[in-house]
Symmetry: C2
Subunit: 172 residues, 2 copies
């Protein structure tokens, strides 16, 4: 598992090979095992495999020009929240779900890359138009998914100067 | 690995047994293997094991009354960003790092629970005071860590009505 965490790298070149629907469903089972504030589960997911629509997504996102055969947009549905303050946590909840997708992908032999959408206003507008989101559904990101056509070594970017002990001014 | 993702549950009862510093360091190695927007790595971590300080944290957080022997506060350091827009992604980056901590913990026999801090203004103020954060370091959360004293079955909360196919209005 730690190996899986270290093996997850951003993959930007993909094989010309579709991703099995069963594997996509496993990714989404992993996503929906994430924790969420007050168990509100604000997430929704749109899976895209249509080549024309993938092309529209590539055109919409400056850093999303890669040739993945599938994409998952992780979104927050703000209408699930009634009279609570839990919606202040939708970005965190959907980010945890996204990380689960990326780690599950490693285990299934798939590569992924996370393309940020929220809070970039123009990206939100474009992706919402392409994927037909109603106004209360906000795309957090687009995750490209596919069989990798590049290999990257496992790693952590651990840096001891980012770690503090008991209080911020003391080293670990 | 999928088993690990499903086995991660919020643990709120802990054994009276300290967490080895080596294990804490592994959790942080996992955290810093997370993806971050433009590889900006905005994260910092404060590890707390001092009983008096843990008590102060328990008092500060309404949903954080549990008896964990250790806590990690995952924070964003906004001063790492110079003239870029990448700081709009610090919450997502730090949330992915947090999920890595929680999954690595499962593998090490540890339990965790995620206590949201940002964007609750009062919680940010209290945790920043207890852990001595400068103004440009924002606590996203406090993660309690310890050996579990409760068992919860593995699960996903997968729900097919949260999954859409090609566009939002079509089912998977």
């Amino acid at each position: 598992m730690l190996e899986t965490i270290f093996a997850r790298r951003s993959i930007r070149r993909y094989q010309d090979k579709p991703v099995e629907k069963e594997k996509i469903e496993l990714l989404l089972q992993a996503a929906m095992a994430a924790p969420s504030a007050m168990n509100f589960k604000p997430w929704e997911f749109v899976v895209v495999t249509d080549p024309q629509r993938l092309k529209e997504i590539r055109n919409a996102l400056t850093f999303g020009k890669h040739n993945a055969p599938a994409a998952i947009s992780v979104c927050g549905n703000l209408s699930f929240y009634k009279n609570t303050k839990a919606n202040r946590f939708w970005v965190q909840d959907c980010s945890a779900a996204t990380e689960n997708i990326m780690l599950a992908a490693v285990e299934l032999g798939l590569g992924t890359v996370w393309l940020g959408v929220h809070p970039i206003h123009n990206y939100i507008k474009r992706i919402s138009r392409i994927l037909h989101f109603p106004e209360h559904v906000i795309p957090l990101n687009v995750i490209y998914v596919g069989y990798p056509a590049e290999e990257k070594p496992a790693r952590t970017q651990y840096s001891p100067d980012r770690v503090h002990w008991e209080t911020y001014e003391r080293n670990f």
